[in-house]
Symmetry: C2
Subunit: 429 residues, 2 copies
C-alpha cells in the first residue's frame, strides 16, 4: 500500500505521477540538487511542496513546479525489510516503552522508512540494538504528536496507561516524548502518580537519530539501564547532562526545565543537582534528597485547566485579571518579579480576584531561587490579599500542580491544602 | 520636622504619643524584644503595626497594641548630622547618579536615618566613601519606587532625563534601580537611546547595604570605575558576577536577565559572556561582540504598551487571543516551547490575529538558544501564518522592543522593519 501522508492536490499528483511515496529516498534536480527521504506532511501544509529530509538531518521544502527531475535511489519498502524482530532473553527484566511522539519516536521511525511516528519493538531493535542487551522491551504507541500539541487530556491518558500497567511484570516504563513540553508532562505524572511503585523515565531527543550528533540512542540506552538497575521509584526525565556523550542525567520530574532550545543538555534540574547521573556505565545517586517515600500509592489522575499562568511585566494591563475572572478561571499562577512581586497597579484587581474566590499562587520569573514575600512591604501587601507564595517551585510546575490540585479537589480550600503540601519534591523544605 | 511617612490612625498616634518618628532607632519590648530602626510604611499598609528594620537587615511588623514598652536608642536627627558634603576634586571626571528607587537607593538611605528612599551626594559620600576617589558624582532623585512598580512611562522619564544630560560634562551616568525589573528598563533604554555617545550603567543591589553580605557598595564603585575608565558607550547593567566580592560584570542591556531571586550574581548575560568583567581593579573587555556603532544618535523615546506577552503551555485556552484582539492590542510576543512552537490548538486564533493585522513575534520559554522555526513542520506552519521568529532575543527584551517599535512606528510594517533589525545586540546574527 502506498503512503502519501499529508500530501494532497498538486504535490500528491506529482508523487503519484512519479510513482513515489513517503519514505522513498530520492535525488531531485532543481536549481540546486538534493538527495534525501520524502517526508510525511502535516495537516496545515500547502499542496505546492514536497518535503525531503536531507542527510544533514535538516528538512527542505521543494516546490513541485520547480523540480526539473526526480529519481528514486531506494524505496521505503526495501528499507523496511531490514527490520528484524528482537529475540527475547528470558534472563533480562521487562520494560515497557510507551511512545507519544516527538523527535525521538518520529526520527527513529523515519530512518527505517516507515511513515507514522510509531516505534515498534522491531524498529527499536533495528535502530538501537544495545537495548536488547539490557531488557526485553515491549512497545506501545499511545499517540504520535509533537509535544507542543499535547494537552492535559494527553497527560491523563499517559498516566492512565502507566497506571494500568503496574500489575504487569514491568520493572519500569519508558515514555518517549517530544522535548518541547516534556517538563510539563513530567510534572503532571509526578503529581498524578505520586508514590508509584516503579520508576518511569521520560526520554526525548534534541537531535534526530539520523543526524551524527543525535542524542536519541544514548538517552534511550541510559533510561533502560537506569530503570533496570536503580532501586528507585517515581517520575524522571532522562536526557544528556553534557554536550558530549559522556553523561546522562536523571532529573526529578517536578524540578526539571528545558533551558536551551537546541543543546543536547538543554534539560537541567533547577535549584539543585539531578537525582542520578549515568556516567561510564555507573549510576551515581544524588544524596541531597531522598525522593522515595513509603506512602500508599493512590493515583489522582484529573486535571482542571481553569488555571491561568500570568507573567508580570511593566506595562501589563491589570484588566487581564477581569478577563480571567469573567472567563471562569479558578486559579492564577503569577510569574512575579524578583522575590515574588507584581506592581501595585495590579493590587485592586488581585484583591478582586481573591474576593471572587480564585486561588492565586506566586512564583518567580527568575526561575531559580526562593520566593520570599516577607522581605519587602510590596510582598507583604500581596500576602495580605491572600496570595500563596510557592517557595522555589518552577513556574511551569506550579501551573501543572494547580491544574492537578484543582482537578482533584472539591473546593478551593482543599486545593490550597494540596498546593501547600510538598508532594513530589516540587519545592525544598 | 517630624517624619511619619505612611503611618496613619492607630500606629501614627502611637508614634506621636511616644515622641518617635521614622528613622529613630528604638528598643521594643513585646512578647520578644527587638532593636531596630523605625521604617516608613507603604501606601497599602494597615494602621495597626509599626515596622522595624532589625540589624540583621530584615524588617519586622509589630502590632502597636501588643507593645509593652518602647525606648529610643538614637534619633534620626543625630544620625543625619554625621553626613558631610563630599569635597570636589577638580582632577576627577564627573558622573551623574540618577536614583529611581529600589534596594540600592533605599537602604543606603535608611542607614543614614533619612526617610524617603533618596540618595543625595552627601549621603552617597557617607555610605560609599571610595566613590569620591573615582569621580565627582552629582546625584538626582528621579523617583523612589520599588522597581516592580515601574512602568513604561517611567522608562520614558529615565530616558528623557539621560538624554537631557548629554550636553553637560558627565563622562557617564549611573542609574540606581531596583533589581526586579532592571532588565526591562535596561532593554528600554538600549532601544530608546541607541547610539548614545556616553556609557550608562544601571546598578542595583540584591542585599541591602545594612546587611554584611550587601553588594550595593561594590556594584556602585565598580560602575563608577567602569564609566570613567572604559572608552565605551551604550547601556549596561553592572552587578556581581560571582557570589563572592571578586568579580563584577557589565552586561549588555538587551542581553541580561535576572536568573535568581536572591543571589548576588543573579544577573547573567544570556547566550554569551558579559560585555566587561571588573576584577581586581582590571576591566576586561569581551572580544565576542563590538557593541559600539558609529551611527548618529537619534533618540526615539516612545513606548506603546498594546503588546501582550503570552507564554504557551499545555492547556492554554486559545480564546485568550480573542480577548487580546478585542482589547485592542497591536502585537503579541509568544514565549513558545522549544525552537519556537505553540500547539496546533492555537492555529485558528493565531491566523485570525494575523488577519486582523497584529504583529506576532516568537521567542522561546527555554530562554537560552535560537528560535528556529524551519526545523519542524509545526514551526513552518506558524511561519506561514506570518509569525516572525525572533532569533535568540530574550522574551522580556522582545516584549520591550515590541513596545518601543510600536511606539515609534506609524504602522505595523514599519514596526516589523524595526523588529527585524538588530538594533542593540538584542539578537545574534
Amino acid at each position: 500500500m502506498s503512503n502519501y501522508t499529508g500530501y494532497r492536490g498538486k504535490s500528491l499528483s506529482f508523487l503519484q505521477k512519479h510513482n513515489l511515496q513517503v519514505g522513498d529516498i530520492v535525488r531531485v534536480v532543481t536549481e540546486v540538487d538534493y538527495s534525501g527521504m520524502i517526508m510525511p506532511r502535516y495537516e496545515y501544509s500547502d499542496d505546492l511542496h514536497i518535503v525531503l529530509k536531507l542527510k544533514s538531518g535538516y528538512n527542505v521544502g521543494l516546490e513541485v513546479s520547480k523540480i526539473k527531475k526526480i529519481e528514486i535511489e531506494s524505496s521505503s519498502e526495501i528499507t523496511k525489510e531490514t527490520v528484524h524482530q528482537p529475540r527475547i532473553n528470558p534472563n533480562l527484566p521487562k520494560l515497557l516503552l510507551v511512545s507519544t511522539g516527538g523527535t525521538i519516536a518520529s526520527k527513529v521511525d523515519y530512518r527505517t522508512g516507515a511513515v507514522a511516528p510509531a516505534l515498534t519493538a522491531a524498529e527499536l531493535n533495528a535502530t538501537v540494538p544495545e537495548l536488547t542487551e539490557i531488557a526485553n522491551i515491549d512497545t506501545e504507541v499511545l499517540f504520535s504528536e509533537y509535544s507542543e500539541n499535547l494537552l492535559p487530556e494527553h497527560w491523563k491518558k499517559i498516566a492512565e496507561k502507566i497506571d494500568s500497567c503496574l500489575k504487569s511484570e514491568y520493572k519500569g516504563i519508558i515514555v518517549a516524548h517530544g522535548t518541547d513540553t516534556m517538563q510539563y508532562t513530567a510534572s503532571a505524572l509526578s503529581f498524578a502518580l505520586v508514590n508509584i511503585p516503579i520508576p518511569v523515565a521520560l526520554v526525548g531527543s534534541q537531535r534526530s537519530s539520523d543526524r551524527p550528533s543525535s542524542d536519541a540512542a544514548l538517552n534511550l540506552i541510559s533510561a533502560a539501564k537506569f530503570l533496570v538497575t536503580c532501586d528507585t521509584t517515581g517520575i524522571y526525565v532522562v536526557m544528556h547532562n553534557t554536550t558530549s556523550d559522556e553523561e546522562v542525567a536523571c532529573h526529578w520530574g517536578t524540578r526539571v526545565r528545558k533551558n536551551h532550545t537546541s543543546k543536547r543538555n538543554a534539560f537541567q534540574t533547577v535549584g539543585g543537582s539531578p537525582a542520578f547521573i549515568i556516567k561510564n556505565d555507573k549510576i551515581i545517586k544524588n544524596q541531597q534528597f531522598n525522593y522515595v517515600r513509603k506512602r500508599e500509592y493512590v493515583p489522582k489522575i484529573n486535571f482542571d485547566t481553569r488555571v491561568a499562568l500570568i507573567k508580570y511585566y511593566p506595562g501589563l494591563d491589570p484588566s487581564v485579571i477581569n478577563y480571567i475572572i469573567e472567563a471562569g478561571y479558578k486559579a492564577i499562577i503569577f510569574e512575579g518579579t524578583g522575590l515574588g512581586h507584581v506592581g501595585k497597579i495590579m493590587y485592586d484587581n488581585v484583591d478582586k480576584a481573591k474576593k471572587k474566590g480564585l486561588f492565586i499562587g506566586m512564583t518567580s520569573q527568575c526561575i531559580d531561587g526562593m520566593v520570599r514575600m516577607t522581605v519587602y512591604e510590596s510582598g507583604r501587601d500581596l500576602l495580605n490579599f491572600g496570595i500563596m507564595p510557592l517557595s522555589n517551585m518552577i513556574p511551569e510546575t506550579a501551573l501543572v500542580k494547580a491544574m492537578w490540585a484543582l482537578g482533584n479537589s472539591d473546593n478551593i480550600q482543599e486545593m490550597e491544602t494540596l498546593m501547600k503540601e510538598n508532594i513530589a519534591l516540587e519545592f525544598s523544605d
